[in-house]
């Protein structure tokens, strides 16, 4: 009974931790706008937390600059399993317009397995919610694998 409860509620209360890897803040304000009354992600249980230890889903924005690389990797490493990594906007997936610059350390997928990409140069909040919803389902599966 206890196991079933845990398995069922893993997807129902995904807590987000937002890492800004040098983004132009376009995606950052879009991510926060997801929690405002109009789109209200909280009804699905989303909540922004302050420390990676509390997080289930890590949302990365920005083209992972050289400076922020090891800080991002360190924070992601500190998130307890089962965890999901969601990249928001084009920058983390490919470096977008900043690709090839001396200070961009390349797409995030070079260092960490990215679970869900939400494309769009500032994707719409509905798209972000879809992405996060998909991430919660992946979380549930990861929980099952972890259990085995």
């Amino acid at each position: 009974m206890f196991k079933k409860l845990i398995a069922e509620s893993t997807g129902k209360s995904p807590w987000l931790f937002h890492i800004n890897a040098g983004s132009c803040n376009g995606c950052d304000i879009e991510l926060v706008s997801v929690l405002t009354p109009r789109y209200d992600a909280e009804r699905l249980g989303f909540k922004l937390t302050g420390s990676p230890r509390h997080a289930d889903i890590v949302v990365v924005t920005g083209p992972v600059t050289q400076q922020s690389l090891n800080r991002v990797l360190r924070s992601i490493e500190q998130v307890p399993d089962p965890k999901c990594i969601v990249t928001m906007g084009s920058c983390p997936q490919s470096g977008n317009v900043f690709r090839g610059s001396y200070s961009v350390a390349g797409p995030l997928s070079k260092y960490v397995h990215v679970d869900v990409d939400v494309a769009g140069c500032t994707p719409k909040p509905e798209a972000v919610i879809d992405g996060l919803y998909l991430a919660t389902q992946i979380l549930a599966e990861k929980r099952k694998e972890m259990k085995k």
Partner: protein, 416 residues
């Protein structure tokens, strides 16, 4: 001790929340001209690669494979993960092959979901015995040496080719070229095409007034005798063997003997119906453009254009100055002119001064007192005379050979 928003908080407690019903369906679309997912129409694309060049996130790549028949099959992919959705590629695509839909659901777990691609076969030019393709890969500045009667064929690699005889170096094609691949020098009559910049879009051949640029698919043009006066001109010449009659349909007619081809009439013509070429002495009137306003007649310094209602003029009226000039250049083909003119000028000081043969004035330094009257009288301001420094310069490109300076010069120091 005021508590802000307490009233609102309580009232909102009982009102309906203002959230949008969240239902995870994919059919919801963005705002009317929202730039969402890209849709590529391969059939329209001509692989001009303009979109690749302008894309800021360089998200567009293409791969060319040779099909068995030798045509190249091009597959172009748009990587949405690296696209900033600024739609510059859509603006630059002349053929509307790129379209941004209103679908904003671009969520992917694998990279491939974000790739939008399309393949098409590029239309190769019609196969013909490869005529004299310009030998050097980079066409020489001047077109091939003029061996009369040569046939100019359009090139097969989609690039434009120039018909030297027809080209008047008016540089319109260079201005129109979107890729800036052409540079044409009016003064030393050069027409160069930069192979790799050129995208073969054909805007230059459309813009050329003289139809002097051939694109793949146009018929080859035989160079033939470089008749300075192209076809339209004959209509006027044969009519009055001895006497030039004004025309009856209200259009102007040229008196070749008097005309010095100073292109003033063409410049003044409001409808742009007249094309006068100084170098090869052509005066053409485009019937359908001409509105018969007569501004060319008035503007003509030499009264070489007759409007209906003027008296007919004898073809070879003894107008002193222009006659000999008009006759002289006829036989020599256009191309030699630039060359002789070049060496003849430096030799001038040693020998006694003779008039130049291209209808432009020349100064006799001995007689000239640098009174600058000629400079003031010149209608186009081609002369600059400096009284103190005793210098007399003529700007060939401006000078129209009208002879005013020759007439006004008190000392007859200018010969024409």
């Amino acid at each position: 001790m005021d508590f802000p928003f307490v009233k609102e908080a309580i009232s909102k407690l009982f009102s309906k929340p203002s959230c949008e019903m969240y239902v995870p369906d994919k059919t919801k679309l963005g705002a009317p001209n929202y730039r969402g997912r890209i849709v590529f129409h391969p059939e329209k694309c001509i692989n001009c690669m303009m979109c690749e060049r302008v894309c800021s996130g360089n998200a567009i790549t293409h791969v060319i494979e040779k099909t068995p028949e030798g045509e190249d099959k091009v597959t172009r992919t748009f990587y949405l993960g690296s696209c900033t959705f600024c739609a510059t590629c859509m603006d630059f695509c002349g053929h509307g092959a790129i379209e941004f839909t209103r679908d904003y659901h671009m969520i992917a777990t694998k990279e491939e979901d974000l790739m939008v691609s399309g393949t098409f076969i590029k239309k190769a030019p019609v196969k013909k015995a490869p005529a004299a393709k310009p030998a050097a890969p980079k066409p020489a500045a001047a077109p091939a040496p003029a061996e009369g009667g040569k046939v100019i064929k359009p090139r097969d690699d989609g690039k434009p080719v120039q018909v030297p005889s027809k080209c008047v170096y008016c540089t319109i094609c260079a201005k129109k070229c979107p890729a800036g691949a052409l540079n044409v020098d009016r003064a030393n009559k050069t027409w160069e095409l930069d192979e790799d910049l050129c995208v073969g879009c054909g805007t230059c051949s459309d813009a050329c007034p003289k139809k002097a640029i051939l694109m793949p698919g146009d018929e080859p043009v035989t160079e033939g005798a470089p008749a300075p006066a192209p076809a339209p001109a004959p209509k006027a010449a044969p009519a009055a063997a001895a006497l030039i009659q004004p025309r009856d349909d209200g259009k102007p007619v040229q008196v070749p003997s008097k005309c010095v081809y100073c292109t003033l009439c063409a410049k003044k013509c409001p409808a742009g119906a007249l094309t006068v070429d100084r170098a090869n002495k052509t005066w053409e009137l485009d019937e359908d453009l001409c509105v018969g306003c007569g501004t060319c007649a008035e503007a003509c310094p030499k009264k070489a254009i007759l409007m209906p209602g003027d008296e007919p003029v004898a073809a070879d009226a003894p107008a002193a100055a222009p006659a000999p000039k008009a006759a002289a250049p006829a036989p020599a083909p256009k191309k030699e002119e630039p060359a002789p003119k070049a060496e003849e000028k430096p030799a001038e000081p040693a020998k006694p001064v003779e008039p130049r043969d291209d209808g432009r004035p020349v100064q006799d330094p001995a007689k000239c007192i640098y009174c600058t009257i000629c400079a003031r009288k010149c209608p186009v301001g081609a002369l600059t005379v400096d009284r103190a420094a005793k210098t007399w310069e003529l700007d060939e490109s401006m000078c129209i050979g009208c002879g005013n300076c020759y007439e006004v010069c008190p000392k007859k120091a200018i010969l024409i």
